[in-house]
Amino acid sequence: MSKQNLLRVSDATMQFGGVVALNNLNLELNKGEIIGLIGPNGAGKTTAFNVITGVYSPTNGEITFDGEVIASNFPHGKMKALYAGQNAGKYTKSVVPTPDKITKKGIARTFQNIRLFKDLTVFENVLIAKHLNIKSNVFAATFMLNRKEEQQMREETMELLKILDLETHKDDIASSLPYGKQRHLEIARALATKPKLLLLDEPAAGMNPQESDELKNFVARIRDDFNLSILTIEHHMQFVMGICDRIYVLDYGTLIAEGIPSEIQNNPKVIEAYLGVDE
């Protein structure tokens, strides 16, 4: 398979006041890949996700998705004086999308702290994610002139639930599901937006090794079934090493290593900053 670039993060810097959470991050992801993003706590991994999905606009840098610049910024305004990163003059455009636009372009995500629509049912949670592709306007939808479309949304939702083994929980309220199922549901909901790229923020957190193993297989399966590329943050090394094609390692907002799992595992910098030595 020829490598076809899907996502490119160039020189992304994110600064909160004096805290440089992300410093000049360069990251690439090709179609069909599963990429891991690891690093100590507070290294800036979640921040990287937030920058990619439009939650934050980077202080400096550019994000390209599928050949299109989806976000770009340079230090200006208050940030101009405060800016502590590099490549200050490199970008001159300011493209500030909202997260919904990014999702529409084909990037979906899950959250580090699960964010489901708690009081709604599992079915509704997934169905809502289908809304972004709705064609009919509010009048048509209200007066039920879009029955076909609605029907199709429901069918697709049902299908997705079936594939993800959530069918039996269809009418349960999301918050009453056990933790692991909630994680599955979050992924299902993200998949419902029909993304090309899926971002997973610590999907295996709170799972025991057994469960995290199952999740690993699950993620690999959806990548194939849905023709996805995946970028995942995770602290469970078995999970990361077992599934990722390549891994990026961040520390203090800076990239300290990049490579295939076996390289990373033995990289002294990574061991020192993140993995520690096995006793």
Partner: protein, 234 residues
Amino acid sequence: MLKIENLNVFYGGIHALRGISLEVPDRKIISLIGANGAGKSTTLKAIMGLVPKSEGKVAFDEKDITSAQTKDIVGSGIVLCPEGRRVFPDLTIAENLTLGAYLRKDKEQIKKDKQWVYELFPRLLEREWQLAGTLSGGEQQMLAVGRAIMSKPKLLMLDEPSLGLAPLVVKDIFSIIRQINDAGVNILLIEQNAKAALEIADHAYVMETGSITLSGTGKELLASDLVKKAYLGE
């Protein structure tokens, strides 16, 4: 020290705890492991009086605390480091730690303990004045554990303290737990990282769908085939 008998808890119609009995003897580390949704967190919440118990008895230091209020339970020396971190987002790291020692009066010792927490998690010292709400997930987790340590309880209950922490820190966490225990604090620990939890535990319980299905010393359970298969992923 802590003794639970036949604890039952309902969430509406869901029978979340079905007659749990367990014991935390003095100066020991007790681990509680089990699959997602088994009812581990619920057990700790029920002890703290955060969820109503429909049946059962909880005694601490020979005193019945089954129907005591949370604040009194904390007063009697049990502290919970809750699931989901629950740091105070509008307060700084330093203030969060100070609040951990809310019931303590020994100013000098509090100061020392704070120093100790900062030594354990240098990251927290770096960001002492940052509002807890803006910390990263792992930093918040460190803060939550640090805050619990600050309270110097007789019994410390930790609900998945390693959640979201980097591997290096996870290793530290378990040695920290040891240190706390050595300082005379009893520990009741919930962990997904079953291996580490069992290694450290003097005694451990396995929970499944609201009941305790297995118990024994940490070593015994580590050797058990059942545990191996279900929780160690071997």
